[in-house]
């Protein structure tokens, strides 16, 4: 505990508070709340019942009203703390409610019904998790199917992205040919074209080649990414050409140079691109929404959209499934992040 205090109150010179210490502290703590607060609220709220979600002011943690079995009633009754005329409070169970008046019963004396104004009572609550928010979509609403589709799209698209982009980057960084720089500029240029601009022509193409309403129609148009080519090319430029020459002297074919020399040495850049690609493909919404029309092909993000109907939005399901969709992205980042920092290329060269 004291080490946490020491950590939080660490200052420039260790003694007095400089104004920059305060600004830094406020900035960092504020940043933490801004960045992490929504995530905490999301996870907390995903366990709330629809009724609690509609409450104001909102709470971070999920609560449920306590219920108890009362003699003479078949179903468990909700408990309330009722203000007595003498100022004390007493826990009572609600039998039914009519307008602003509730008919309540004392669990100790279940025979006698008391009428209570609803402004004079507070529900007895405890922290409780509405796990049905998770169970129900996963069991009944095909969310496991959506999950499988999403995993398939993400993994396949990422593998193809890594493969094709690294081959393009290899050619653009290690071969000299006429028009190389022009090709590079063109690829970078496509960064400036947003999806919404090419949506309609892309749709026509996908439809014409018969990929409409198929997961491949979601995967294939996204695999060639200018960011990926650029990122890998910049990294591959740092791999010394002498290594390639050495491999050529060692009877390596160009394919072997790519597969056994360039790819392993580009691992840090590939990891970065893999992270990007997984996050992009996992979070894709617009394009899958356009391409997929059969429900059994939906990805998670499109599936989430089915809970937002025209007349009512099932927030509890949306929140819970949003948490589910977040988990893989967070895991990928946790496991691959280390990779980014450890560059292994160049260590064999002085």
């Amino acid at each position: 505990m004291s080490s946490i205090v020491t950590f939080l109150s660490r200052r420039r010179d260790g003694r007095s508070w400089h104004w920059t210490d305060i600004v830094t502290w406020v900035w960092l703590v504020g940043g933490l709340i801004i960045m992490f607060g929504p995530a905490v609220w999301l996870v907390g709220s995903s366990f709330k019942t629809p009724g609690q979600l509609a409450e104001f002011p909102p709470t971070i943690l999920p609560y449920v009203s306590q219920k108890a079995m009362v003699e003479g009633y078949d179903k468990p009754l909700t408990l309330y703390r009722v203000m007595q005329p003498d100022g004390s409070t007493k826990v009572m169970a609600e039998v039914r409610r009519v307008g602003i008046v509730a008919q309540m019963v004392d669990p100790e004396a279940p025979g006698e019904i008391v009428k209570v104004n609803i402004s004079e009572r507070r529900p007895v609550r405890q922290i409780g998790f509405a796990t049905e928010n998770y169970v129900e979509p996963l069991k009944k609403n095909d969310f496991l199917l959506y999950l499988r589709n999403s995993v398939f799209v993400t993994l396949t698209a990422t593998l193809i992205t890594l493969f094709t982009n690294s081959m393009a980057a290899f050619a653009l960084s290690k071969y000299r040919f006429r028009g190389r720089d022009l090709v590079m500029v063109l690829i970078i240029g496509t960064l400036m074209v947003p999806l919404s601009v090419v949506l309609v022509p892309l749709y026509s193409v996908v439809s014409a080649v018969g990929l409409f309403d198929s997961l491949w129609g979601v995967i294939l148009p996204t695999v060639a990414t200018p960011t990926g080519v650029f990122l890998l090319r910049q990294y591959m430029l740092t791999i010394p050409d002498e290594l390639l020459d050495a491999a050529r002297m060692d009877h390596a074919s160009e394919w072997q140079i790519y597969w056994r020399i360039i790819l392993p040495l580009s691992a840090p850049a590939l990891a970065v691109l893999a992270i990007f690609s997984v996050v992009w493909r996992w979070n894709d919404f617009l394009w899958p929404l356009v391409v997929l029309s059969r429900k059994e092909l939906y990805t998670l993000q499109v599936g989430l959209n089915t809970y937002a109907g025209q007349l009512n939005v099932q927030w509890h399901f949306i929140l819970a499934m949003t948490v589910v969709t977040m988990i893989p992205v967070v895991l990928v980042f946790v496991f691959l992040q280390r990779y980014i920092t450890s560059g292994i290329a160049g260590s064999g060269l002085k």
Binding site: E242, L243, A246, H251, A252, A345, S347, G348
Partner: protein, 362 residues
């Protein structure tokens, strides 16, 4: 067999021509050193021989077979790179095996060859390490080992010692010489260090600006430099080059007059020189001795005396504000500011005509 023949090889990069009509014949088992200042095209020439680059014109033949258009892998040569170019993600063993695996050699033979090379180069203890865990000298051995296991027709070495510290450089140099003795394989060695060139080479190829200036055994290049460039490049300290005027010239002897009343007679073997022409006289610093100021000697004011122990290097200024470097035997003395007189060994004078070409001495 490893005879490499280059005929009239040019190499252009765009409009820039970096190699001009290179003709070179490297005999089997010979150790040829390509030497020259940086940018002279020696590394480019090595890459052409290796097949990593193709000549713009001319032919390259190995053992009489034209390999100009043959890929690097098919030429059967092995190369040691300046930066070693070891594959950083593979262990030493994998580095050595890579080329052999690509040739689909049986596993047992790969193992045998690696074991043999590891024993010869004393790299057996770190076969399972990665290049990043090796010192510079160890990396160098692995790089040589990678060439040795290939059992090539010739080794190509591109400044292999330039990344080592001075002490390691000397010992590795000796090891390369021993390796050449032992394997008897042709080696082409590129360096800008003339000591490496002098100590290792069977023949030296001196290059400048994409042209071969002289080819010959080290001592021949040292004793009879073909032109002013070679004279200035080979030998340390540099040869003194004095502008002289021809006083008289015959078929057997040329008399010259230099700055400050200096005169000399050089025995020549036929020269086209005429009296009154300008020429350059080259005298190596080691070919002087002290004199007491006789007729025709060089006199100068001492600027700096470097007493190295076995010899003393005197820097002096002679008439016409020219610098002269003289190496005197043992601890010859001499003091800064004093006037000194030097007499060159008349047998060891180098005369170059106005075009900078050597006048053949008798």
């Amino acid at each position: 067999m490893g005879r490499i023949t280059l005929t009239n090889v040019d190499r252009d990069f765009g409009k820039l021509r970096v190699l001009h009509g290179i003709d070179l014949d490297i005999g089997d088992g010979e150790l040829v050193v390509l030497v020259g200042p940086s940018g002279c095209g020696k590394s480019t020439l090595l890459r052409l021989i290796a097949g990593l680059d193709k000549p713009s014109r001319g032919t390259i033949a190995i053992d009489g077979k034209d390999v100009t258009q043959v890929s690097a892998a098919q030429r059967g040569l092995a190369m040691v790179f300046q930066s070693y170019a070891l594959y950083p993600h593979m262990t030493v063993r994998q580095n050595l095996a890579f080329g052999l695996e690509n040739q689909r050699m049986p596993k047992a033979e790969i193992e045998a060859r690696i074991a043999e090379a590891a024993r010869m180069l004393e790299i057996a203890p770190y076969l399972d390490r990665r290049p990043g865990q090796l010192s510079g000298g160890q990396k160098q051995r692995v790089a040589i080992g990678r060439a040795v296991v290939r059992n090539p027709t010739a080794f190509l070495l591109d400044e292999p010692l330039s990344n080592l510290d001075a002490e390691l450089r000397i010992s590795t140099r000796a090891e390369i010489a021993a390796l050449h003795q032992r394997l008897g394989t042709t080696m082409v060695y590129v360096t800008h260090d003339q000591i490496e060139a002098m100590t290792l080479a069977d023949r030296i190829v001196v290059m400048r600006a994409g042209r071969i200036e002289q080819v010959g055994p080290p001592l021949e290049v040292y004793n009879a430099p073909a032109n002013l460039f070679v004279a200035g490049f080979i030998g340390s300290p540099r040869m003194n080059l004095l502008p002289v005027k021809i006083r008289s010239a015959s078929v057997r002897e040329v008399a010259v007059e230099g700055p400050g009343g200096f005169t000399a007679r050089i025995a020549v073997n036929g020269s086209g020189l005429k009296a009154g022409e300008e020429a350059t006289l080259g005298i190596r610093p080691h070919d002087f001795r002290m004199s007491d100021g006789g007729e025709g000697d060089l006199s100068g004011q001492v600027n700096l005396v470097e007493a190295l122990g076995p010899e003393t290097v005197v820097h002096a200024t002679i008439a016409g504000d020219r610098r002269l470097i003289v190496v005197l035997g043992a601890q010859a003395g001499g003091a800064v500011g004093k006037a000194m007189h030097f007499r060159p060994d008349p047998q060891r004078l180098h005369l170059f005509d106005a075009a900078g070409q050597r006048v053949p001495s008798a």
